[in-house]
């Protein structure tokens, strides 16, 4: 009995240890091919203290991908709270979180949406997508939309075409305040890893269990629902998207 249990435990341990090894062996072949030596985990830090709400990222992203009117891969929300003279306004730049546990991937019936093993970017394969919109429902961040021109699900792809050539994403490149910081979360010496280690960071809707890879410094998580609390008094969230309300 005990022997059997021990054997089972060994088997489980063996399976558990083979999982990471398999991805490492993949890296080995990549190394042989002269490609990247290590799997990356791309992520972003948004330092809200540096954001001036200018929408440069929204516009840069729009022009980078010719995103049709009325839909956005990147956008900036304004959060206003309080009653004059005690009022505040803060900005919240948004994009896909490239979640570590992405619900959009779980529900996709065609495997069109998947998380790239080599860098953690969540992408939509436009050759497979049927436009069923299941992923749009499943994303807790409203980061996806149906592209009205192509009929596919669409969203931020961390500018793969730029990042793979060693450039930073378009929205990061354009940010006037330096509020968007892009990098490899897997590298402890990267700028972004240091920022996360040295600052108080938050992620959006962490209770959803998605483990986002977009971190915020100094974000105001106030939502219109909070206006129900007497001390908050008044909250107005402007998304600057076709859907005026945050969803």
């Amino acid at each position: 009995m005990t022997a059997a249990a021990a054997a089972a435990a060994t088997a489980i341990a063996a399976i558990a240890t083979t999982l990471p090894t398999r991805s490492e062996s993949k890296t080995d072949t990549e190394r042989e091919n002269g490609k990247e030596s290590r799997t990356k985990r791309y992520g972003m830090v948004i330092d809200v203290r540096r954001c001036i709400g200018c929408h440069a990222c929204t516009v840069a992203c729009k022009s980078e991908f010719d995103v049709p009117l009325g839909v956005n891969r990147a956008w900036v929300e304004y959060v206003e709270k309080g009653v004059y003279p005690n009022v505040g306004r803060s900005f919240l730049p948004r994009l896909c979180n490239h979640c570590s546990v992405p619900p959009c991937v779980t529900v996709c019936p065609t495997n069109a949406t998947y998380k790239r093993p080599q860098d953690g970017i969540v992408v939509v394969d436009s050759g497979l997508c049927i436009g069923c919109k299941y992923c749009i429902q499943a994303c807790p961040y409203d980061a996806r939309f149906l592209n009205p021109v192509t009929g596919f699900a669409d969203k931020c792809d961390f500018c793969i075409h730029r990042v793979s050539k060693g450039l930073v994403p378009s929205c990061v490149n354009t940010c006037v305040g330096g509020a968007r910081i892009f990098g490899d979360l897997g590298d402890p010496n990267s700028n972004i890893s240091k920022l996360i280690a040295n600052n108080q960071v938050t992620v959006l809707r962490r209770e959803m269990g998605t483990f986002p890879n977009v971190y915020y410094i100094g974000a105001d998580h106030t939502d219109e629902l909070d206006a129900k609390r007497p001390e908050v008094r008044k909250v107005q969230v402007v998304t600057h998207r076709r859907h005026e309300e945050r969803r």
Binding site: P109, K133, L225
Partner: protein
């Protein structure tokens, strides 16, 4: 509520029609199997045949509608290039097999209309039974998957409940029965043959009493759904408040689904069922009552899908 929904009317209609069709086929197949060719199945053979003749067509219509809800309709075959754990993927496979199996099942009933083909009809009987065995689990699977598909997302707290699939299953069976009652009543010609007349009323009794029982079960499931959502805190409680008193869609839900779709039909059905059940009187409900009750159940079933699909999309997780 004027905003556009990610999943709109085609999806709502699909969920309803797939439920009606899957329910009708499941009921028809079970009735056929229950008798095993003997007295029970024999007596209710016409009932089973009505169910079979209705069965696949609402499902096909719904599937047709939902295909054109896709961003790229002509790509739908990509669904069948992979097998994965997405409820929509599993559902598509199920749906494809169900449509094929239930359509074949319908075909096996066609020779029974022509008396010269009696021979063929008898030779098809074993095939009919095999298909009925296949169709019961498939029909239940199709009805359940529609609920699982909605329930799979934490981002939609109103749907994210294990009991939603059960609610859709019970509603599918109940609306399937209502559809059979409706069609059977509409097409039934009062004949001089008292034996046939008696069979017709026996079938109607079987259907109506089962429907009343299913409606009771559905009310219980709705009660559990609402109660548990209300007793928790956080996203689910916040989302469900939209159909509880004071919510934006509360009136619609309580009037159309609960009152018109469930309570009133159940009461009318019981008025006609109880005398037979308790006093062994003959069951005979007037034609108009049968028609009104079954239409009310169907309307309620549609409104259930409409309100659940709609409310699920206008509510989301609370806070950011």
């Amino acid at each position: 509520m004027g905003e556009e929904l990610t999943w709109g009317m085609p999806v709502i209609l699909y969920l309803f029609l797939a439920g009606v069709g899957a329910g009708a086929v499941t009921v028809s197949s079970s009735v056929l199997l229950r008798g095993g060719g003997g007295d029970f199945g024999g007596r209710h053979f016409k009932l089973a045949r009505y169910g079979a003749l209705i069965g696949p067509f609402p499902v096909m219509l719904g599937t047709f509608l939902i295909i054109f809800e896709l961003g790229r309709p002509f790509r739908m075959f990509n669904l069948f290039k992979v097998v994965n754990l997405s409820p929509m993927n599993i559902g598509s496979w199920l749906l494809m097999i169900f449509i094929t199996a239930s359509f074949l099942y319908t075909l096996t009933f066609l020779p029974t209309f022509i008396s010269q083909w009696k021979n063929l009809s008898q030779r098809l009987a074993p095939l009919r039974t095999v298909l009925a065995w296949i169709n019961v689990p498939l029909g239940i699977g199709v009805a359940v998957y529609t609920g699982v598909m909605l329930g799979a997302m934490p981002a939609r707290p109103l749907w994210n409940s294990p009991i939603l699939a059960l609610l859709f299953l019970v509603s599918a069976l109940s609306t399937g029965i209502a559809m059979i009652i409706l069609v059977q009543t509409l097409f039934h010609k009062k004949g001089a043959d008292t034996e046939a007349e008696r069979h017709f009323h026996q079938s109607a009794y079987l259907l109506t009493s089962s429907d009343a029982m299913l409606i009771g079960l559905e009310l219980m499931v709705i009660f559990l759904f609402l109660m548990f959502a209300h007793l928790t805190i956080g996203n689910v409680k916040y989302a469900v408040s939209i159909i509880l008193p004071g919510g934006d869609m509360a009136m619609m839900f309580w009037v159309w689904v609960v009152a018109i779709g469930l309570l009133i039909p159940a009461i009318i059905e019981l008025i006609f069922v109880v005398p037979k059940l308790v006093y062994h009187r003959d069951y005979s409900a007037p034609r108009s009552v049968e028609i009104v009750v079954s239409i009310a159940v169907l309307v309620g079933g549609f409104m259930l899908r409409y309100i659940i699909v709609h409310a699920g999309q206008v509510t989301g997780p609370m806070g950011l």
